[in-house]
């Protein structure tokens, strides 16, 4: 028994954290809010260079051939930075789903997609987490759940209607495809199992990003209450403020092991993986919501502006807490697994 990451995994995490701290500062996130496609191509290319984007792609196709346990800490870092773009759909969902199908000989384009994905030149979108498909306008590949069958849709084959998110960098669309315009990648049991596996990986990835977002909001708030003075002292000296932040840390601290455990279960394809993912997503969604509330309250009015950075993380947290199944949905699924 050892519930801890390896030195290599922690080192990779630190490298990604340093990279994003430098290249994906809040002003870059704001840039993605304001630009045409909500993307930061240079940051994406940098992550592809480091191997993060293709982490789950087989080595033979230019990826690192690693697993969800190696990825979870890195996803947490993308959350901490509120990295814009289809990270979950591309890195955590499309890559392993395609890698699984790629072993079947009749799917020639898949190896090519995976190579492009690992190189950072293919963005993927999916409708597994919700009918709101993120970045469908720029995706080279959209994976769709079509009545239990796994389909691929290529650019130009879909009618898109933009749906504005509370998080301005998340470009969401409802997608309409003509009946014969998509390619079926897997049907029947295999299709369903691919989609279920893909959904669980998306929920796990969202949970990991929520941890990072929550940690970032807590860090911002701790910094703020140490320097903001009222009544002649830093407001962080007041118990009312301390207790807000202790509660925030409590929620985050107990969500974290649930997420890491789920990453382990998914990587090892354990029978309880779906239940563990649901527990993780429920905990992380609730924790991020709670931390966000504490963070906003402790900031006071400055946090309630779009000029201060907190809202960038807060809104991403709200969006992710609601997508890939919200906390109540996932608790329901845990309940089914528990036989109630």
């Amino acid at each position: 028994m050892r519930f801890a990451f390896s030195d290599d995994q922690l080192l990779f995490r630190d490298t990604v954290r340093d990279f994003l701290a430098k290249e994906c500062q809040p002003e870059r996130v704001r840039e993605a809010w304001a630009n045409d496609d909500g993307l930061l191509p240079d940051v994406w290319a940098g992550l592809a260079e480091m191997g993060v984007i293709g982490l789950l792609v087989p080595e033979a196709l230019g990826g690192l051939g690693m697993d969800e346990l190696d990825l979870v800490l890195l996803l947490e870092e993308t959350g901490r930075a509120a990295l814009p773009g289809p990270v979950i759909d591309t890195v955590a969902v499309a890559a392993p789903t395609l890698a699984r199908l790629q072993q079947a000989p009749d799917h020639q384009p898949i190896a090519g997609w995976l190579s492009e994905l690992a190189a950072g030149t293919l963005l993927a979108a999916t409708n597994f987490g919700s009918p709101l498909v993120g970045h469908a306008d720029v995706a080279s590949l959209v994976l769709l759940d079509v009545e239990g069958e796994l389909h691929a849709a290529l650019p130009g084959s879909m009618a898109l209607v933009a749906q504005a998110s509370v998080d301005g960098s998340r470009r969401l669309f409802t997608v309409d495809t003509a009946r014969d315009s998509t390619v079926c990648l897997a049907r029947d049991d295999r299709g369903r199992s691919c989609i279920e596996g893909a959904f669980d990986r998306g929920a796990l990835a969202a949970a990991a990003q929520l941890l990072g977002l929550a940690d970032r909001m807590l860090e911002l708030t701790v910094g703020y209450v140490k320097q903001r003075e009222q009544f002649g002292v830093p407001i962080g000296t007041f118990q009312a403020v301390k207790h807000h932040l202790a509660d925030a840390l409590l929620a985050l601290s107990f969500a974290r092991p649930a997420v890491y455990n789920a990453a382990c279960s998914v990587a090892r394809e354990l029978p309880d993986a779906a239940r563990d993912v649901s527990m993780a997503k429920a905990c992380a969604s609730d924790a991020a919501h709670a931390v966000g509330r504490h963070a906003l309250q402790c900031h006071g009015a400055i946090g309630y502006t779009i000029e201060y950075d907190l809202h960038l993380y807060l809104k991403r947290a709200w969006a992710l807490a609601a997508s890939w199944g919200d906390a109540a949905w996932h608790r329901d699924r845990v309940g089914v697994a528990l036989g109630i």
Binding site: M1, F3, G236, T237, L245, A246, Y260, M279, G335, I340
Partner: protein, 391 residues
């Protein structure tokens, strides 16, 4: 990450499970916080000790099994899973013993530990005083030097002493330097309760059991051998105990995992008996299971840190906040499921599960108060983990 148990650990689990299955009393014992119940629990403690299950993590020389921290967790899981009796000896085993191992002389360890393991000496904790609760450093019970007799004369009052009326010994803090203030000048002393000058008065807790006591000390003499750690160094010695009290040793995950499982079982029985399906109740039951499971996982991470030499420090306060508030939530959920039957005690023939949920609810409410109130824990988390400024 390696979330598998070794084959040796699995064998240990099987041994625990097998022994418990053949020894745990079929019917639950009366509450160990009553005089009759306490006596029944002592019989159980002696059965545990006879087969060396009372202190599994201790060295064999003192009655233990040299179990690793991982094996101890396994033992606890199996213990609560089997529905075995509460541990009325826990304040000695989990609070005093770690301090004895760290600060005790060989003579003290050889004298006290085997007797504690065998439930011959029964220990209660003497921290709180009428005017020193959350502000523990303000204690005023004093110990005066008696050079001629080679010991200390104790005067003062301790209170909220759990099972004090049934125990034989008390460990606590006393002011040995009369001119000292706050954390300084305190000494950790071990006091036999049959010492002349010691009076113990038991009184009822919220649930009605005589689980509390106040201990009056009037010029009670204890010899130098009763000092644990250095004279006037009691605060740092005591802090070693409080961190184990807050941390995982007193309240292992197995206890709450078992409660969550019982809650799920209660929910299923209520539904089978025709109780209406209330989505909010089901959601709360699931949340209880999730809370217990996250505590289990969190503890695996904690134990990994301890085993690999990383100190938990003030993080143990997070642990205490979690288990104490989870315990209240789980019992509140149970009472909601029970509806009007929730008020029935063990004396009511119509009580569900022997009234144990109502009893457990009342007990759970003490969790956020004892071992340092949760307000104090939140201050500790904010100041020592998050680094917020003190006043």
């Amino acid at each position: 990450m390696d979330l598998d148990w070794t084959s040796a650990e699995q064998a240990f689990r099987a041994e625990c499970r097998g022994w418990l299955a053949s020894h745990v009393p079929r019917d639950p014992l009366p509450s160990g916080d009553t005089r009759e119940g306490f006596a029944r629990h002592l019989e159980w403690e002696r059965i545990l000790h006879e087969d060396r299950w009372s202190v599994v993590s201790w060295p064999a020389a003192y009655g233990g099994r040299d179990a690793t921290l991982w094996e101890w967790l396994i033992f606890e899981e199996e213990y609560y899973r089997a529905g075995a009796p509460q541990r009325v000896t826990q304040n000695g085993i989990f609070l005093l013993a770690p301090t004895l191992f760290e600060f005790g002389t060989e003579e003290q360890k050889d004298h006290y530990l085997p007797r504690m393991a065998a439930a011959e000496d029964l220990w209660c904790q003497g921290w709180s005083e009428p005017n020193a609760g959350s502000d523990l450093a303000s204690i005023s019970s004093r110990a005066q030097r008696d050079e001629g007799a080679g010991g200390w004369r104790l005067t003062g009052q301790k209170t909220w002493t759990t099972r004090g009326a049934f125990c034989t010994h008390l460990f606590g803090l006393f002011r040995t330097d009369p001119d000292s203030e706050r954390h300084r000048g305190l000494t950790y002393l071990m006091v036999p309760l049959d010492t002349p000058g010691v009076t113990v008065r038991g009184f009822g807790r919220l649930d009605g059991d005589e689980g509390f006591a106040e201990v009056f000390l009037e010029d009670a003499f204890v010899p130098d051998g009763c000092v644990l750690g250095g004279v006037n160094e009691g605060w740092s010695v005591a802090m070693a105990t409080t961190s184990s009290e807050r941390g995982l040793t007193l309240r292992s995950p197995g206890r709450f995992v078992a409660t969550a499982d019982r809650l799920i079982d209660l929910y299923k029985r209520q539904r089978r008996a025709g109780a209406p399906a209330a989505p909010s109740s089901r959601d709360a039951v699931v949340q209880a299971w999730i809370d217990a499971e996250t505590y289990r996982l969190y503890t695996l991470a904690d134990v990994t840190d301890i085993v690999e030499g990383r100190s938990l420090g003030a993080r143990s306060s997070l642990n205490k906040l979690w288990w104490s508030e989870m315990d209240v939530r789980m019992h509140e959920t149970a009472l909601r499921l029970l509806s009007s039957a929730g008020e029935l005690t063990d004396a009511a023939p119509a009580a569900v599960d022997g009234g144990s949920w109502a009893k457990g609810f009342q007990f759970s409410l003490s969790g956020p108060i004892y071992a340092g109130t949760n307000e104090i824990q939140r201050n500790i988390v904010a100041e020592r983990v998050l680094g917020l400024p003190r006043r």
